[in-house]
């Protein structure tokens, strides 16, 4: 319990900064929403002069992206990018910081098992992610109800925001698993930014376009397809299972390796 509280305290400030940054980002995007809706209205009038097939192909996508949910699902990819970096930083640093800050020997001589250490730290990181997502969701639903031009489904809005939590969980678990493989991690940022941006770009470049069901498994950013969620009010089961599999495997690996890991007191 002490470890848990200590971790919470040490993560408090950075989590607060991340929450503020994410909410500010959403606020900036929502502030331009009305302008885009009016841009789109002009464009739709122009579309009227084009033949039916062209109108059908483009009109639908214009309609769907200028609805509040469509717009939100577009800007949401940048929010998930920020959230993934936060979670990955948290995951990579939570176990490795003891060695980096030369406090490992103080912690590990305490009469607690190593798995209890891992559990307390993971639980603290998990709590911080929960807090981030709950506060973010409350703020963003308030903003959405302020800028909406027509009604939208609150259930779908919730489902979209819930993916933020899933993606954070995946990256937290990946971060922890990556960090236990290093004897001493000098700096967290290069590792976490490398992994997150790497997967983000894989998602943007390789997994874009059609016929990509297999390629989408590579990048967790692509596990939750917003168009699918909006259409079916649910998630694609195969990717949900893949995400859960990654989380479970990564956490299991972290426990197994950390319990047996060679940790130097002074290095």
């Amino acid at each position: 319990m002490n470890m848990y509280l200590h971790e919470l305290k040490s993560m408090r400030r950075s989590t607060l900064i991340w929450i503020c940054a994410m909410i500010a980002l959403a606020a900036i995007y929502f502030s331009v929403y009305r302008g885009i809706v009016s841009d789109a209205a002009g464009f739709k009038r122009l579309l009227g002069g084009y033949p039916e097939p062209v109108r059908a192909a483009l009109g639908i996508s214009v309609d769907s992206i200028t609805s509040l949910l469509g717009f939100y699902s577009m800007i949401f990819s940048f929010i998930t990018l920020c959230a993934a970096i936060q979670a990955m930083n948290l995951g990579t640093s939570v176990l490795s910081k003891e060695v980096r800050e030369r406090t490992a020997d103080f912690l590990l001589v305490k009469p607690v098992s190593r798995s209890a250490v891992v559990s307390a730290k993971l639980l603290a990181a998990f709590t911080m992610i929960m807090a981030t997502d709950v506060i973010y969701y409350l703020a963003v639903s308030l903003m959405a109800s302020m800028v909406k031009t027509s009604d939208y489904s609150g259930r779908i809005f919730f489902l979209i925001n819930l993916t933020l939590f899933f993606i954070q969980l995946i990256f937290l678990a990946i971060g922890v698993a990556v960090s236990v493989f290093f004897a001493k991690l000098k700096s967290v940022i290069p590792v976490s930014l490398g992994v997150v941006f790497g997967l983000y770009m894989i998602g943007a470049i390789i997994a874009a376009g059609k016929d990509n069901a297999a390629a989408r498994f590579i990048s967790p950013f692509k596990y939750f397809d917003m168009t699918y969620i909006i259409k079916h009010t649910g998630y694609e089961p195969s990717y949900l299972i893949a995400g859960a599999g990654i989380v479970i495997a990564a956490i299991a690996i972290s426990y197994i390796i950390y319990v047996k890991k060679d940790i130097h007191a002074v290095n």
Binding site: I28, V54, I65, F71, K186, L193, A204, I205, G209
Partner: protein, 264 residues
């Protein structure tokens, strides 16, 4: 000279990894080109679409069916990657002595702090230059392999020149932040935060014309890639202020580092 060589050696492995990643990024990006080039947009309609809608639909302002337009789209990701490299390198090269507790070994040498920073900045300069050249060469070869239309090597060179200036801005920004911030561990996260913020700003200003003032905050938006795609050159009106910004940031690095209270 010893510090310069020492820094190059210390960062050699990281530079090799980054270079391989850049090559793979260009390779994987270009391998998707065929999918875009064959999709065939309705061009007249596409061009009349409001800027904000194009950005939302993910086309950006480029015609991705042509090679230069597609490369410009891919270039944004390339530029982001090398900017991450540059900002982390700049922050790390200044902050690492304190982070790794080696300051006292370095500072007791008969060298001024100015000389230390000069050697470190030159080493970093060589590294971002190497990464830029690796990207340039792999882009030219990859684009050539997929290109069926006109040769765009000249445009790629201009793209890479602009990228080099963006790299320099982020390198000097990272170094200046690291020299200024008291806590050597925080400099990496802070400079990465600044980079992330400027990336997000560049994405937000795509959506609307009313926030164009914000582009000043984002080096990703300093150069007009639309002009480059259309065959225009780099404008001196942008390059000179950008170089000045680099000079100011480097000067600030010296200024702060000379007076810095070094943690031992």
């Amino acid at each position: 000279m010893n510090i310069f060589l020492r820094e190059l050696k210390a960062n050699r492995k990281a530079l090799i990894i980054w270079s391989v990643c850049m090559f793979l990024l260009v390779l994987s990006g270009m391998s998707k080109y065929t999918a875009y080039s064959s999709s065939g947009q309705n061009n007249a309609l596409f061009n009349s679409m409001p800027h904000s809608l194009k950005a939302l639909l993910g086309f950006g302002s480029f015609d991705v069916t042509t090679m230069s337009g597609y490369f410009a789209m891919l270039f944004l990701y390339i530029e982001l990657t090398v900017a991450i490299h540059a900002v982390l390198l700049g922050a790390g090269i200044v902050a690492k002595e304190e982070r790794d507790k080696t300051t006292e070994f370095l500072i007791v040498k008969p060298l001024s702090r100015t000389a230390v920073i000069t050697a470190k900045l030159f080493a970093a300069l060589v590294e971002v230059f190497v990464l830029n050249i690796v990207t340039l060469v792999s882009s030219i070869f990859m684009v050539d392999a997929y290109n069926k239309g006109a040769d765009i090597s000249g445009e790629i060179v201009r793209f890479m020149v602009s990228m080099f200036i963006v790299q320099l801005i982020f390198l000097s920004l990272g170094a200046a932040l690291a020299a200024f911030i008291k806590n050597p561990k925080a400099s990496g996260s802070l400079s990465a935060g600044v980079l992330l913020a400027s990336f997000v700003v560049s994405k937000i200003t795509d959506l609307t014309d009313r926030l164009n003032m914000l582009n000043l905050l984002s080096p990703f938006k300093y150069f007009s890639y639309k002009d480059l795609v259309e065959g225009g050159g780099l404008s001196a009106g942008i390059i000179i202020p950008a170089i000045l910004l680099v000079a100011v940031l480097s000067a600030l690095t010296y200024f702060f580092y000379r007076k810095r209270d070094l943690n031992v």
